[in-house]
Amino acid sequence: MRKSEHIIGRYGISDYGTEEKEKIDMDALFSKKYLRWFLTIFSLSIGLILTFILALAVGPVDIPKLTVFKILFHFPQSWPDTYEIIVLEVRLPRVILAGLVGAGLAVAGCAMQGLLRNPIASPYVLGLSSGAAFGAAVAIVLGFSFVKGSLAIPFMAFIFALIAIFLVYNIARIEGLVPTETLLLAGIAVGLFFSAMVAFLQYIAGEELHSLIIWLLGGFWASSWNKVYIALPLILLGIVGTLYYSRELNLMLLGEEHALNLGVNVESVKKSVLVFSTLTTAAAVSVSGIIGFVGIIVPHIMRIFVGPDHRILLPSSGLVGAIFLIWMDTLARTIIQPTELPVGVITAVLGAPFFLYLLRSRKRLMGW
């Protein structure tokens, strides 16, 4: 090239020979990206709606899909009353909960992985699940709760999940800064503490042991409209709040100093994202127990397909998380009728091999 000129002209206008290289239409590249994002969200939404209808139709009593659709949209009745009860009172809250929890865990997991810049981060990584488990265990084993009735267990799980994160955040905070490594370590320590307490409660549980273990495994068999009313606003708020910080999360993936230099108030973003994902996860755990796998694997799978940009990664993870968990729950309740399998077992058994296949073949696209 013309490098020799550089030595002579100190202020010479450099020319790196762009004309030799192929020209790229930046406008097209720019608009294509957003079109691709729109199509991704659109098709996943269609997938979620179809999943929804199918999941409502399948079960011990098979109901025609068209009838499900008609029941949902209050068409003039032309089906037995039992169908209506099965769809609206039994299956609908369960499917909605599974979808909400799947979406919430996937979004929260994705946000935690981005925030902590750590591929093994999950919504539970900061000790939230152990805190929730402790709260639930206290309610189940000791029969103690701040509220009475069927919501005692969810309420205690929610409160102790928040307590755990509050502890972790304040332990990790030094002079107004919360280094992510410290946060992670504090989370592990607090998590281990609560796990030990849960183990102790299991040890002394006696005949309550079975119901505690069932709760810890996680599942949707105890779904009700009440739980939907509690979880829906909290999880939606958490998801929307997390989406609000998509751009900031992108910049924080490059490193905190990059983010600061690009105008991101790193500490306040950390705090906000933590608050929203904690809210989502705590609500999810309190209504469904501790369902693993979704929150850690779905974001990784979506990273392979849509890339690292949180503006598309978060919403598509949410949609896929919802679809995935609804399917897994449908399997869990139909595969060996009349008994149910814990949904967490199904997600891991079916999801892990698929993820390992992707990991082997497309690792490069994930980033870490």
Partner: protein, 297 residues
């Protein structure tokens, strides 16, 4: 446009890292910050961009104190190019440069406007990174990546460009390329540039003014003639050097000779040879070759 640094001091947990740093940079000017490891060069850059909050002193841009700015406002004024950017995530180059628009974006959920895209295109044009637009950031070369990061800094439309050893790990060709680009941008975009570097020769070629730091204090500041002297470099770096003027590059060349105080043992190949001869039986072939030529001269 003018950048004023007034009496900045900073300490890490009580250990003084910077003390009373005062200097100014005008637009179009490149100021080279030089000094040994641990002399506070990077700390100074971090204090200017308010990543570290100096305990004493102010940073003024056009007379306005940036301590009162929020991060967004700071990002509109300062573009920062860090030492080395390890980005493991497969963002495209266009995405990375678009991130530079962050401080200017109004809508949270919407996409960047066409004006933003125009600024980005321009930044990529002047840094010659257009052809990389759809490449993935972790799959381009180090020199290309550094140009992309400079493009991202330009997309911030800053008034000041702060660079922390931008040519570290780059080959000679890319070192020149990056520094020529910076020199050119300072003039074309009216940027005030602060460049931290270890390379005295490149600094003397591309910087207008120099600031030599020693243990967190300014040891010498001014033009190349005043700062890059044999005495200054001996005092600060503890080495003996020879300085010559190169007519072609119109700049000074600093050639290190030996560590100060160890003048008795200079590490010429001849002396290494004699050292090896006194110790081992078979010296390396290359040294024997060298000694042969020396003696035939």
């Amino acid at each position: 446009m003018k950048l004023n640094i007034n009496g900045i001091s900073f300490s890490y947990n009580g250990v003084k890292a910077l003390e009373g740093i005062t200097f100014e940079v005008n637009e179009g000017e490149v100021v080279g910050v030089i000094g040994p490891n641990g002399s506070g060069k990077s700390t100074l850059l971090r204090c200017i961009s308010m990543i570290l909050k100096p305990k004493v002193g102010t940073v003024l841009i056009d007379g306005k104190n940036i301590c009162e700015f929020d991060r967004k406002e700071i990002a509109k004024n300062f573009g920062v190019v860090p030492q080395e950017s390890v980005i493991v995530f497969p963002f495209t180059v266009l995405d990375i440069v678009l991130m530079g628009r962050m401080p200017h974006l109004r809508s949270r959920f919407g996409k960047e406007t066409l004006d933003d895209l125009e600024v980005v295109k321009n930044a990529m044009k002047v840094t010659s990174t257009q052809h990389l637009a759809n490449r993935v950031i972790n799959e381009i070369s180090g020199g290309e990546r550094q140009r992309v990061i400079i493009a991202r800094a330009l997309a911030q439309e800053p008034k000041v460009l702060l660079l922390d050893e931008p040519t570290l790990h780059l080959d000679i060709n890319h070192q020149l390329e990056i520094l020529e680009l910076i020199r050119e941008l300072a003039i074309k975009n009216n940027l005030a540039v602060v460049l931290v570097t270890h390379d005295l020769n490149l600094a003397s070629r591309y910087c207008d003014k120099f600031m030599l730091l020693k243990l967190g204090k300014i040891y010498s500041v001014g033009l190349a003639e005043d700062v890059l002297t044999i005495d200054n470099i001996r005092d600060v770096y503890d080495i003996e050097v020879e300085i010559s003027y190169n007519e072609k590059t119109e700049s000074y060349n600093v050639i290190p000779i030996c560590c100060a105080g160890k003048a008795a043992y200079t590490s010429t190949k001849k002396e290494i040879f004699s050292l090896i001869q006194s110790k081992t039986s078979t010296p390396p072939q290359a040294l024997l070759e060298h000694a042969k030529r020396q003696s035939s001269r």
